[in-house]
């Protein structure tokens, strides 16, 4: 079985401050990992993904995430947040199947509020 835990339901930061959103996963193998963002009343947008190689992956809008197999984590970071980053962020995991993946397991989401 696989699972994703986002321990922080809500995070509030000031504009310009740095950000870290935590994600822990449980999976017996090495997973595919993703961060998605959901803006109000919208679907999901992919921020970044990790398949293999360099554990630090760069995404859109200045986001990056670091994969740690020893800690079973995939934390999302941003050096300086903007008010427009206010949204709900979902960490997701997919099992590595033979040459493809399809089923995503999502965390509960972290609601980010950026204060001016």
């Amino acid at each position: 079985a696989q699972s994703v835990t986002q321990p922080d339901a809500r995070v509030t930061v000031s504009e310009g401050a740095s950000l870290q959103l935590r994600c822990k996963y449980s999976y017996s193998g090495t997973p595919y990992l993703f961060w998605y963002v959901q803006y109000p009343r919208q679907g999901l947008q992919l921020l970044l993904k990790y398949y293999s190689g360099d554990p630090v992956v760069q995404g859109v809008n200045g986001f990056e995430a670091e994969f740690s197999k020893s800690n079973s984590s995939f934390h999302l970071r941003k050096a300086s947040v903007h008010w427009s980053d206010s949204a709900v962020y979902f960490c997701a995991l997919s099992a590595r199947l033979s040459g493809s993946f399809n089923k995503l397991t999502f965390g509960a989401g972290t609601r980010l509020a950026v204060c001016p």
Partner: protein, 113 residues
């Protein structure tokens, strides 16, 4: 580029009626299509996974009798919510996969009166 469209974007139906939603992949071949539901204030739950030339696999708590899915070709899938009730409201996302990435549509938001 790869895009996924979903129709309709929003729909309202009366309790006990059914509604059909569609998912179209453009720019890639959707060998797999996953349907997810996000209930109010919750995360995304996988309803079922449809892979071309394989049987559709439903997750626990979701059944074909309630959520019949069609995946007739590599660019289209549809799902119907039969006998919709209040607990079926939410955002339904289609995730279409080619090789190594799943692309999401904007979702169909279902309101049940």
């Amino acid at each position: 580029g790869a895009l996924v469209y979903q129709y309709p974007r929003r729909t309202i139906c009366k309790s006990g009626t059914s509604m059909r939603m569609e998912c179209q992949a453009v720019g890639f071949q959707a060998t797999s299509v996953a349907w997810y539901r996000q209930s109010p204030q919750k995360t995304f739950e996988l309803i079922a996974l449809s892979t071309v030339n394989s049987a559709i696999k439903y997750e626990q708590n979701f059944t074909q009798e309630k959520f019949p899915i069609s995946h007739p070709n590599l660019s289209f899938s549809s799902m119907t919510v039969l006998n919709a009730y209040l607990e079926d409201r939410g955002l339904y996302l289609c995730g279409a996969s080619g090789d190594y990435e799943q692309y999401f549509g904007p979702g169909t938001r279902l309101t049940v009166l």
